[in-house]
């Protein structure tokens, strides 16, 4: 059997007023890119931080390469690299110094240090600017530096909390390529959290959908999408009883009446639309819009959690972006 990098059994983390993680179990294979997908407050960051020994679980068992997270935190830390969601590169130092400090904190032998730092900076394509102050870096470069800091120790498992948050599309693509290369070339196990469907879809081998502290489902992006069961037709209608009528006609509704819209799943979307419209017209239901799409991760998410990740999740994106901008402004 393939060795498991991470095994989580029945993890619970309770805070005085809220159960952040409520009985989560999963395992991550060695060399896998594993993602936890969910909205803010779903318990993703709490899970990641428990794995990193930063938070003590209330109950449950977590092991990383057969080492118990609660018993041997130093061993765990030595084999992990962590890129937090927030800015974690120090703007008041050069990129080289930023990585140097981490190399030293992980007890890297002095003889190897310089070479390995330059290697990792080269790998992330910021070598030419190694001696520039980090507060002159763009958001994407800063993110790459943060990953460099986490990689210099050659971790067995790299933890990325919202890896591309606050970055522009181009910088995101670079980060995604990098994460893929890392796994392919070095077999690094990668554990990431995201609320970005696209990121999860493109990057992850397997995705755990997390909601309200629980793991709703866990599978490959392809299976998650196909589990939706076919094409998704969204009907926009001002009629109050539209959803009820559609249901009566025997269609499979996956969500209803959000902003006068209901989504149904059918096997052959193209052929169904004219039929459906005819029936609705006959039933006296006014239809304002109809759209057809192939199932996305978003639909799978909807299916398993009963809600979408709302657009205001962009808040985190905005605040992260603001933090990065402010950071550069204040420290320059």
């Amino acid at each position: 059997m393939e060795q498991q990098a991470i095994v989580v059994e029945n993890l619970v983390k309770e805070y005085p007023r809220v159960k952040a993680v409520d009985g989560v179990s999963f395992s991550v294979a060695k060399g896998e890119i594993f993602g936890l997908l969910g909205p803010n407050g779903a318990g993703k960051t709490t899970t990641i931080r428990t794995l990193l020994t930063l938070i003590k679980p209330t109950s449950g068992k977590v092991t990383m390469f057969d080492v118990d997270v609660t018993r041997n935190s130093e061993t765990i830390r030595r084999m992990s690299g962590y890129v937090p969601q927030d800015v974690s590169a120090d703007g008041e130092l050069t990129a080289y110094e930023n990585v140097l400090i981490y190399a030293k904190l992980y007890d890297m032998p002095r003889q190897e240090r310089k070479k390995r730092i330059m290697d990792v900076l080269g790998y992330l394509q910021i070598k030419e600017r190694a001696n520039d102050m980090v507060n002159t870096y763009s958001g994407g470069m800063m993110r790459r530096l943060e990953i460099a800091q986490a990689l210099v120790n050659r971790p067995k498992v790299l933890f990325l909390d919202e890896p591309s948050i606050g970055l522009d599309p181009n910088a995101r693509r670079i980060i995604w390529e990098l994460i893929n290369r890392l796994r392919n070339e070095f077999g690094t196990t990668i554990f990431l959290t995201t609320h970005d469907m696209n990121e999860a879809d493109i990057l992850c081998d397997r995705i755990g959908i997390m909601n309200k502290g629980m793991l709703a489902t866990l599978d490959t992006p392809e299976k998650l999408k196909s589990s939706v069961g076919g094409d998704v037709i969204s009907i926009g209608s001002p009629a109050q009883d539209c959803a009820r009528k559609v249901k009566e006609m025997g269609y499979n509704i996956i969500s209803s009446a959000q902003n006068n819209q209901c989504d149904i799943v059918v096997e052959n979307g193209e052929a169904t639309i004219p039929l459906l419209l005819g029936k609705l017209n006959a039933g006296g239901i006014k239809v304002e819009s109809v759209s057809l799409k192939k199932p996305t991760l978003d639909d799978a998410f909807l299916k398993y959690t009963g809600s979408r990740i709302e657009a205001d999740q962009g808040d985190t994106f905005q605040s992260a972006k603001r933090a990065r901008t402010a950071f550069r402004r204040f420290t320059q």
Binding site: L54, R77, P84, D90, E92, L93, I101, L105, D107
Partner: protein, 263 residues
């Protein structure tokens, strides 16, 4: 043997954290120069003016001018004023996420706290040097010999560590930069005035004297004054002991609270 290795690792991690902080200062030395403005004003204006008040001289140690008396006080003050706001940087780093990342390394929490405090202490040395030079330019007679200079450095490092540890102990409680700024201002002046920094304890209002006795800054000033002005060292061991004790206690408190800075 294992204990020594563990201790060696621990010390190394303290030094790496201190190095991290000191590298930042090296990149931005302006902050050290800006910090000399205030003590310069205290010495040149306040000190000069007070020297002309002859009534004061009878309370001073024999053969000591007011500027000689005051220079150690200003030294202590300038290091205190910087150290007491150290927690603001910690809160700022927490808001950014730097603290989270540091906490995920194998470095023990307390070594992060001690390393940061140590950097505040070492930074104090640079400030002390600029103020001593300033005092010499103003022709204040200071006792400078290898012993007094070593003593000065030891006390200044402890002073910087002591009050930056106090500030770091407060950071997890107050958690915002604004509150840390407020709390810093609220405690520096009482600490400063309830010490013998700019006047002898004997002429303080009587109700404040008990505060001066438990104020670590009093012992800092007393130690520095013995080393640099009067040459009277019989109280020095007690002074250093009190400062060391306060520093250790505050470092422990700061270490205990530091984990709460993780977000």
């Amino acid at each position: 043997m294992n204990i020594f290795r563990a201790l060696g690792k621990y010390i190394k991690s303290v030094l790496v954290i201190a190095e991290l902080e000191l590298r930042k200062i090296r990149h931005d030395q302006t902050q050290i120069w800006i910090r000399t403005v205030q003590p310069a004003l205290w010495l040149a204006i306040y000190g000069y003016t007070m020297s002309n008040i002859s009534a004061l001289s009878k309370y001073l140690p024999a053969n000591i001018s007011y500027l000689q008396f005051m220079t150690p006080g200003i030294l202590a003050q300038s290091v205190l004023f910087v150290a007491i706001f150290f927690g603001i940087t910690v809160v700022w780093e927490r808001d950014l996420g730097l603290i989270n990342k540091l906490l995920s390394t194998p470095a023990p929490r307390s070594s992060i706290v001690i390393g940061k405090a140590l950097s505040a202490g070492v930074r104090g040395i640079f400030q002390a040097i600029t103020i001593v030079i300033l005092a010499l330019i103003m022709q204040v007679h200071l006792l400078l010999n290898p012993l007094s200079i070593i003593g000065l450095f030891v006390i200044i490092v402890l002073l910087g560590m002591c009050f930056s540890a106090l500030s770091m102990a407060l950071a997890p409680i107050f958690k915002t930069r604004e509150r840390m700024m407020g709390i810093g201002q609220a405690i520096t002046m009482p600490l400063f005035f309830a010490s013998s920094a700019i006047y002898p304890i004997e002429i303080m209002p009587s109700w404040i004297k008990p505060i001066a006795v438990v104020n670590p800054l009093t012992y800092v000033v007393s130690g520095l004054r013995g080393l640099l002005a009067t040459g009277d060292l019989h109280q020095l061991p007690l002074d250093i002991l009190v400062i060391l004790g306060s520093t250790v206690i505050l470092l422990i408190l700061a270490s205990l609270g530091f984990k709460r800075l993780a977000t």
